[in-house]
């Protein structure tokens, strides 16, 4: 079987240290072990050189989405990025995500995402579920094809790196007008559920702000789960909005899609 070369030796990490008042890159040199990931290196620095280095992590298995950071300028999970996959002769820079306020060092305040999620009406079964058609002894009847389509979106581990790299959030700071790719994915997973009874189109278009997305696909590129955010979630929903979301019709009172009802009114737009 093939054995990959695993480089070892001393590497330099440049880690951003600081808080809301400011900060900068600090150099740390470290002896590395075979197969080490960036999180291993950061934790070893924390243990042996910088005991107050703040870093958020939990599963260390690319499943919880806690340890998002910008490694050599690109959003990545620290636990999934091997040192020997980064350019060997250059220092490795590790910085916090930039779309959110920094708390300290590599830890950012991602609570805005949770406020957005609270605005999204959860899955609500359709009123017209037909006995024997959509139900079997209380079990839902769903096609595997529908499951596969939703499953792509439900793989999301909420690392928020797609939010971090989205120009609307990162550069334009329009957190109060666009929910961001993560929640377009969430909306898509709900919207494509064959038995969901909520018409989400107005929210996707208005508070969700899907029109602001200009399809640069940066979010798709950084997704650690390989979700085709732009192609499979955002573009199909944009098309549906164009097809059916007529502002004039809305004023007159657009009828919800068949089998679906409009969600209850929401509170205010989440602020960063």
């Amino acid at each position: 079987m093939s054995v990959m070369p695993m480089a070892v030796g001393t590497r330099r990490l440049k880690i951003w240290r600081g808080d809301l008042t400011g900060g900068g890159l600090v150099d740390y040199d470290l002896n590395t072990e075979p197969g080490m990931v960036v999180l291993d290196a950061v934790l070893e620095i924390q243990r042996s050189q910088a005991p107050d280095l703040a870093v958020r992590w939990n599963c260390k298995a690319a499943k919880c989405g806690s340890c998002s950071a910008e490694i050599n300028g690109k959003p990545r999970l620290m636990c999934k990025t091997r040192l020997d996959h980064l350019p060997p002769l250059e220092p490795i820079t590790v910085e916090p995500m930039k779309a959110f306020p920094v708390i300290r060092d590599l830890v950012t305040d991602v609570s805005w995402n949770y406020r957005v999620n609270e605005q999204i009406t959860p899955f609500t079964p359709r009123d017209d579920l037909k006995e024997g058609v959509d139900l079997h002894n209380g079990d839902f009847l769903i096609d595997q094809a529908d499951t596969d389509r939703m499953s792509e979106f439900r793989k999301c581990i909420e690392c928020f790196m797609c939010q971090d790299v989205c120009h609307i959030l990162r550069d334009q700071r329009m957190h109060n007008r666009y929910y961001g790719p993560r929640f377009m994915v969430r909306m898509a997973s709900l919207d494509m559920h064959p038995l969901d009874g909520v018409d989400r189109l107005d929210q996707i278009a208005d508070e969700g702000g899907i029109g602001l997305c200009n399809i640069t696909k940066c979010c798709t590129e950084v997704c650690p789960e390989g979700i085709h955010i732009t192609d499979n979630a955002i573009i199909p929903m944009k098309e549906r909005v164009v097809d059916t979301h007529d502002p004039l019709l809305k004023v007159l009172g657009r009828k919800p899609n068949r089998g679906r009802t409009k969600p209850p009114p929401r509170s205010e737009d989440p602020q960063l």
Binding site: S2, G35, D139, F140, T147, S151
Partner: protein
């Protein structure tokens, strides 16, 4: 100085599957409910559960029913389970699975468009509801969304360092917000410990950073009894290479889907250990078998054995085991559709925990409840794969309802000032005291002691030695101090109390393991290799006697007359085969 304070009817510690399910149940029962997360919401260790949720829906195997699931659970637990809990779990898991689907969870389907079910070790029939190999994530996301829309108030990145008692009763909790270090207190008419397990006491573990056994230690300090703490499940298949990922879980679904275990000689060695069930034997058996192969010199280059799915269709593997494919490709540079994985045992799950009433999750301490991995009894000496996701739904709901009922029957509670002051002094000591012990170093020492002396195979000499070393650590634990004294997001400060908790839990495990002079389920003694009739009828209870002394007492297994027939039938069937 006044600190941030909140009043709840029900306070839930822990935001994994059991905590979320309990919080939902409490809130739906009308209780004002608070939920504490040590990490961010939705990041708890439940996201790591891969294989599925065991429920006898009978969608794939119509002959399945609760009684077979009950028998499988009892057999897997070597009959040390709390019978009533195993019964409730088997009976209610199907409804909890359906309920989850009605809350929006999406699972793989059968051709008849029902929830599909897969095979798993120790389960007679195809029983595990699943979605690919990320079932835990699906569950936690579904429960998370249900929670935030159920009027549950959520406290993220908040660490609880002490339960607060008023006389004999638990009335709240104290801790701090990790981001700022600001202290926070909660009063609660009923408090549910749903803090999961404590795998971080071992170096090689599949457990998240959060899994430091906080609930076991806090419950113990508050006067609760714990049961079955000597039974630690080592999952047979963790990654062994590269070193940075050693211990990372390789889901049992790999074997469920047809993966084959081989040693360095190419032998399918499970033929020697369990020819009937082979790779899908119970986890204790497979873990011991792998360990033995490696010890006897038939291991893989990196000290594990080979797990192979390359004989299966490549597209099927990538569809059914996508995260395993990614995990090995990304972290080990191994394409599992073409070459075998190298795997070895990793600390995975605590069968033991706070001893609770089987029906409502109440401990012997008034006001204190426990559920999920933090509670004990359901799994006996060994847990079957798939039974923890069912456990946390069935008993999470029951604990939430139980706590809401207790809160409803209770008058107002308040936190005694001296108790809060003592809790404040403790965490202030870790930050600003004169201690000299580094928590990072002490954690490493603890992991070494537990790995060397209280691992898969145990004997009197090693256990006695480990306990002596734990006693040494105990003498030093009061001297812990964070290497940095800043309060905001200080990992060393966080680790001080966690190390103290882990040490308390390690004592329980080591002492229970020494007391149980037999080999049963996940507990294997090299100096007592067979079953003992006495121990086959007894669980070990741990509790605090007085202020400091840990006491262990064997008590008879909790049986139920009406289930006797089912249990005897399974025992007979096992003898016959």
């Amino acid at each position: 100085m006044a600190i941030e304070h909140h009043d709840y009817d029900v306070l839930v510690l822990g935001s994994g599957g059991s905590g979320l399910r309990a919080a939902i149940a409490a809130a739906e029962a009308g209780a004002k409910t608070g939920l504490i997360c040590k990490s961010l919401l939705g990041k708890a260790h439940t996201v790591m559960a891969e294989g599925g949720l065991a429920a006898s829906l009978g969608n794939v195997a119509p002959e399945d029913d609760w009684s077979t699931h009950f028998q499988d659970t009892m057999f897997g637990g070597k009959y040390l389970n709390n019978w009533r809990m195993a019964e409730l779990h088997a009976k209610e898991a199907p409804d909890r699975a359906r309920e989850l689907e009605h809350w929006g969870a999406v699972f793989d389907r059968t051709p008849e468009r029902l929830m599909s079910q897969r095979a798993f070790g120790g389960h007679t029939y195809k029983r595990l509801v699943h979605i690919g190999d990320r079932t835990g994530l699906e569950m936690i996301r579904t429960l998370q969304d249900r929670t935030v829309h159920s009027n549950v108030e959520v406290f993220m990145e908040t660490t609880i360092t002490r339960l607060i008692k008023d006389g004999e009763r638990v009335v709240g909790a104290f801790g701090y917000r990790r981001a700022s270090g600001e202290q926070i207190s909660f009063s609660a008419k009923a408090l549910i410990v749903a803090t999961g397990g404590g795998g971080r006491i071992y170096k090689i573990t599949s457990n998240s950073q959060d899994c430091t056994g906080d609930g076991y230690a806090l419950g113990y300090e508050a006067g609760a009894e714990l049961v079955d703490m000597e039974f630690i499940q080592f999952h047979p298949t963790g990654m062994v290479y590269p070193p940075g990922v050693a211990g990372l879980l390789v889901t049992e679904a790999v074997r469920g889907e047809g993966g084959i275990l081989r040693n360095a000689l190419g032998e399918r060695f499970m033929e020697r250990y369990d020819p009937k069930r082979m790779e899908l034997s119970t986890r204790d058996v497979v873990a011991r078998s792998i360990y033995t192969e490696v010890q006897e010199g038939r291991g893989s280059p990196h000290g594990g054995v080979f797990l192979d799915v390359s004989h299966l269709d490549s597209a099927y593997v990538r569809k059914k085991l996508p995260s395993m494919y990614d995990q090995f490709m990304e972290l080990a540079g191994v394409d599992i559709t073409k070459e075998p994985m190298q795997v070895g045992p990793t600390c995975h799950y605590f069968m033991g925990g706070v001893k609770v009433d089987s029906d409502n999750g109440e401990s012997r301490v008034p006001g204190l409840f426990a559920t999920g991995e933090a509670s004990g009894g359901m799994n006996g000496a060994n847990r079957l794969g798939g039974n923890s996701l069912g456990d946390l739904l069935v008993f999470g709901r029951r604990a939430g309802e139980g706590a809401a009922a207790a809160a409803d029957a209770s008058g107002a509670v308040s936190l005694p000032a001296d108790e809060v002051a003592a809790a404040q002094a403790e965490i202030d000591g870790y930050l600003n005291g004169s201690g000299t012990e580094n928590p990072f170093e002490m954690h490493r020492e603890l992991q070494t002691i537990m790995g060397d002396g209280v691992g898969i195979f145990r004997d009197r000499e090693d256990l006695t030695d480990a306990i002596a070393k734990l006693d040494d650590l105990q003498a030093r634990v009061g001297n812990l101090k964070a290497p940095s004294d800043r309060p905001d997001y200080n990992p060393g400060w966080q680790l001080c109390r966690e190390v103290k908790n882990m040490l308390t839990v390690s004592h329980m495990i080591a002492r229970g393991a020494l007391m149980r002079e037999e080999s049963r389920g996940a507990h294997s003694r090299l100096d007592h290799t067979g079953y003992s009739d006495y121990w086959g009828e007894h669980n070990i209870i741990v509790h605090r006697d007085g202020e400091h002394d840990m006491t262990l007492t064997p008590i008879p297994v909790v049986k139920r007359g009406e289930l006797q027939e089912l249990v005897e039938a399974r025992k007979e069937a096992e003898k016959a085969s």
